[in-house]
Symmetry: C2
Subunit: 365 residues, 2 copies
């Protein structure tokens, strides 16, 4: 199984996704700053994977404190250090909400341990356990989503996907690519069209690499070629991930996703978003409120060492776009498949989650 995030106390190992598929190199992070920079520079990317890496980043901060002073009580400087770690990590990428969800969960665990009078050593262990739980739960959620999603695909499906939503982007298995994995293992899948996904080429580099590893038949295309494949009747479904889903179902995802949604609608092809519930931000009324990260123009002006655009030409490089809910056939979450109107389903799940959250302390008490 591909797993791109590995933790041992004091060190977070990240498979360097910038260097795939040419080489499988690992980056070792032993400080919060190193984790934050790994997220910013896309050593690790994919909304769920960013959340997991950030959670381990908080655990690393606590582990460092514990190594300095042993099992002293969590007070003063320690508290400031954990808060600073969370703030630094929260600032790395603005669009994905899983990051904030994971950090909020780490913060809650931190406060609980502190209030229970835990020592720094205990705190570090607790936060490491919490981060590990986030990673393991993410994998379990991916498998659940994959089952739901595979049920929706026709026999012998030829699907098109964008960016990388696989094991590399999650705790393992993947979201949209997880559905593809499961559909393939069930013998339901015929072919995968892989958008290269400019500018960072996660499709060409990462999704193709994962599909090769699994032996799943696929073909790489430029993003502009998806439309003519649809017109030729060679695509049965589009499967994408999500970075943030608003209360009305509007979905932010990798730039180019909205294009696919419009094309799918025009050609009468189902368009599925696959994302864990932690991607949903019920506090956000619509996609108009989702902040869209503008990344370095050099990503568009070239790739790696190569630069092909004229130096003086201005570049726009929004990393994400927003697909309006009305173009989404279904949102496949670990808590079930949502269908339009999404407001209702999301409000219902949010209410259940609220009850679960408020019930949890009682169960623990």
């Amino acid at each position: 199984m591909i797993q791109a995030i590995r933790y041992e106390p004091g060190t977070l190992w990240l498979l360097d996704q910038r260097r795939l598929p040419a080489e499988e190199a690992w980056v070792a992070c032993s400080s919060v700053e190193q984790v934050a920079r790994a997220i910013e520079s896309m050593v690790v990317r994919g909304a769920p994977a960013i959340g997991i890496a950030a959670a381990y980043g908080v655990a690393l901060a606590a582990r460092r404190l514990a190594q300095g002073v042993g099992d002293a009580p969590v007070q003063g400087a320690a508290e400031g250090a954990v808060d600073r770690a969370i703030r630094r990590l929260a600032d790395t990428r603005p669009t994905a909400v899983n990051l904030h969800w994971a950090l909020a969960r780490m913060e809650e665990r931190y406060r609980r341990e502190r209030d229970a009078g835990a020592g720094l050593g205990e705190l570090a262990q607790a936060l490491e356990a919490e981060a590990r739980a986030i990673q393991e739960e993410d994998l379990a959620m991916c498998r659940r989503m994959a089952e739901y999603g595979a049920d929706l695909l026709p026999e012998g499906a030829r699907v098109l996907t964008h960016c990388n939503t696989g094991a590399l982007a999650t705790g393992g298995h993947g979201t949209a690519l997880g559905v593809i994995r499961t559909a393939w293992s069930r013998g339901r899948l015929r072919h995968v069209w892989v958008d290269e996904t400019r500018p960072v080429l996660q499709g060409a580099r990462l999704t193709a690499w994962e599909l090769l590893k699994e032996g799943i038949p696929h073909t790489l295309i430029v993003d502009g070629a998806a439309a003519s494949l649809m017109r030729a009747g060679r695509v049965d479904a589009v499967l994408v991930g999500a970075d943030r889903i608003a209360a009305n179902g509007d979905t932010a995802n990798k730039i180019g996703t909205y294009m696919l949604a419009v094309l799918a609608r025009h050609h009468g092809i189902p368009f599925y978003v696959v994302a864990p519930w932690s991607t949903v931000d019920p506090a956000l009324p619509s996609g108009a409120h989702i902040p869209i990260e503008e990344r370095n123009p050099q990503e568009v002006a070239g790739y790696g060492e190569a630069r092909w655009a004229p130096e003086a030409s201005p570049v726009a490089n929004p990393a994400f776009d927003v697909t309006p809910a009305e173009l989404i056939t279904a949102i496949i979450t670990d808590r079930g498949v949502l269908r339009p109107p999404y407001e209702e389903g999301i409000a219902r799940l949010a209410a259940e989650a609220g009850r679960a959250t408020s019930a949890a302390p009682e169960r623990r008490g």
Copy 2:
């Protein structure tokens, strides 16, 4: 003025478009084979420019013959050489019809000279003059189309374009980019969004370079970002060129064009095709009959020296797609602006062209 094709008797100079914008290097061709390879390897590209380069290639063949044997009559080996030159050049790129149009025109001139008893030296001069006329007429046609097209744009227009349809792609000025040039010179244009146009990046490399040279405000984007700009109301019109237009108006153009046409329709934005009449193939009933060139997979797997896709991943690399006539707001030709239903307008112009062609020998006689 940017002019990428220059001829002096015996040598065709081509501005190497593969090396722009990094350097302005010229390739000298003195044989048909060199011209054919320059077209295949995209030293020169763009449907009208390919036609012009091929016309000069035929002239080169005649010039070589004349240099060998002086002003001997056109017979035997000479005839075979010109025929072989035309066949070799016709095989370079399958989709663009201007190539075949230009070669047919060169062949007609050749037969006329031969039948009139011209010597090889006279033949070479005549074919050089014919190729030069094709280039000059193309520039004049571009200017005419540009006037028609600029009339269609609103004041302060923000337009989106794909690939390169500029001076580099034509005898000068350009087709879609010619409209942009003229609209800018008239003060009607506010901004140009430039699709980078994967895989060969003609937008990022060539269109951005031309716009910089002219001082026209522009922003480079990845192809997948066009959709969200349209949704944000930041695009007033889409302007593209064409490689072949069928009798019903279906249009083959650079891969990604059909995507833009669907997106423009979805967002209620006019979608204009700009192409000289020589791009229209009235013998072809619809776009389903247009051959689509499949190019080297390496163009998608990487760029230049860089390779980013896994070696073993299959690639599809259709160089063109077909936009159905119903998505095209207007086709802007040098002979006027065509509106749906295109069958009628194209049939009318074809009939006029037929009369002009059959009338021409009489006028000459």
